[in-house]
């Protein structure tokens, strides 16, 4: 299990690799779509990469609730704890 800052750093690396957004801009308050310009297909890639990285399952129904980076970090952390 990882703490919040570790998850956020790993997730930022994934977002950078997939969407070409500098990892430093991937902050908790940023929205994937409006702030980071991540489209629906990139979001699928980020989700799958995150599932592999963190060993969690993020169902498609859940993805639309993950508006911000902080939402995603919180979801991953709780899924790891479950």
């Amino acid at each position: 299990m990882a703490d919040t800052s570790e998850i956020q750093a790993e997730l930022a690396t994934i977002v950078e690799e997939v969407a070409g957004v500098p990892a430093s801009t991937v902050q908790p308050d940023k929205e994937f779509i409006s702030d980071l310009d991540v489209d629906s297909l990139s979001m699928v890639e980020i989700v799958v990469a995150a599932e592999e990285k963190f060993g969690v399952r993020i169902p498609d129904d859940e993805v639309k609730n993950l508006r911000t980076v902080g939402d995603a970090v919180a979801y991953i952390q709780s899924a790891q704890a479950a």
Partner: protein
């Protein structure tokens, strides 16, 4: 009586001996399609990498395009039609339930009663055909086999469907598979996942379509996002397995020629496979759209024509689509 049935064995190794392509004459830019799907050129390019595609004219039938691509493949192989023992046509858009189009193609080419049949494995059809052909040659049931991937997807496209209208297109590609001194076609890695039958499919079967008060073509439908997830990640694993089965590492690879489904799928697969920079990646989809069974031979032909790969190079092919069905193999470029 205890009769003994003779068995056959063929060439120890097989290879692709010739490659041909046919690109239909009508070029259709994104601008022509955007109004009906309330979209834009920019959006289409961003989501798919497609700048234009080709739609066949009335005269460019499945049979006509198949024959044209086949003649080019035979010419490169230095073979006459009479030397072809079998013709396999991979297609889902020969809109005649029976007979298959392959016997007509075999006849028009001038083969001497070659075995001929169609394969229905959608976008994976070409790689299925190459696998079958290679095993037929190795098993001794044929010496030279023509494999065609051909589609007229524009016939089954709903041009008002935002999920498919800008994706699919028409064309044909063909290869000749025959005996070789050393392995030119690696072991196939293939399979299906019928649990995901609905992900890409004809809207309804012909009986249902014809029973309607106002019968319409049962158009092609696709769950784009789910297909993207499956294709981009699961198919990278299949492609990797084909490399492993062939005993070829990514460092030995010259070209990656996935089914041209969507540029974003190609990009994601290339990332997952960690392909070195120098590996040429087929991106024919930008000009050709997704031509299902035809896309891999068309894309390979484009790489050769553009000088990005040459004869003898090692290429990884992976086809995937409705079924879901998939097949991958490593081949030497003819």
């Amino acid at each position: 009586m205890s009769a003994t049935i003779a068995s056959t064995s063929g060439a120890p190794h097989t290879a692709i001996l010739g490659l041909g392509a046919y690109r239909p004459s009508r070029v259709v830019g994104n601008a022509e399609l955007v109004d009906a799907i309330d979209s834009s050129d920019e959006w289409i390019q961003q989501r798919s990498g497609i700048k234009q595609r080709r739609f066949a004219t009335e005269d460019e039938t499945v049979q006509m395009m198949s024959v044209a691509a086949s003649r080019a493949a035979l010419e490169q192989a230095g073979l006459a039609a009479a030397q072809v023992d079998a013709v396999i046509v991979a297609t889902v858009t020969h809109l005649m339930q029976t007979p298959a189009v392959a016997p007509a193609v075999a006849h028009e080419l001038g083969t001497e009663h070659a075995a001929a049949f169609d394969v229905s494995a959608a976008c994976a059809g070409f790689c299925h055909g190459v696998a079958l052909a290679s095993d037929m040659v190795r098993g001794g049931s044929a010496k030279n086999v023509l494999v065609v991937g051909v589609e007229r997807l524009s016939d089954i496209l709903d041009l008002s469907d935002r999920g498919t209208a800008f994706i699919f297109a028409d064309g044909a590609g063909a290869v000749v598979v025959g005996p070789a001194d050393e392995p030119g076609i690696g072991p196939v890695v293939w399979g299906s996942d019928g649990e995901q039958l609905d992900m890409i499919r004809q809207r309804e079967d012909w009986r249902e379509a014809l029973a309607a008060d106002d019968p319409q073509m049962p158009f092609l439908m696709m769950e784009g996002k789910a297909v993207f997830r499956w294709a981009a990640f699961e198919m990278a694993k299949v492609a990797q397995a084909a490399l492993d089965r062939a005993g070829v590492g990514v460092d030995d690879l010259d070209a990656f020629v996935p089914h041209q489904a969507n540029m974003r799928i190609t990009d994601a697969m290339a990332r997952a496979l960690r392909l070195p920079e120098r590996v040429a990646i087929a991106r024919d989809i930008a000009e050709q759209g997704n031509t299902s069974a035809a896309s891999i031979p068309l894309a390979l032909e484009r790489l050769v024509a553009d000088g990005e790969v040459k004869s003898g190079d090692t290429a990884l092919l992976v086809g995937f689509g409705a079924g879901l069905a998939y097949a991958a193999q490593v081949v030497k470029v003819p």
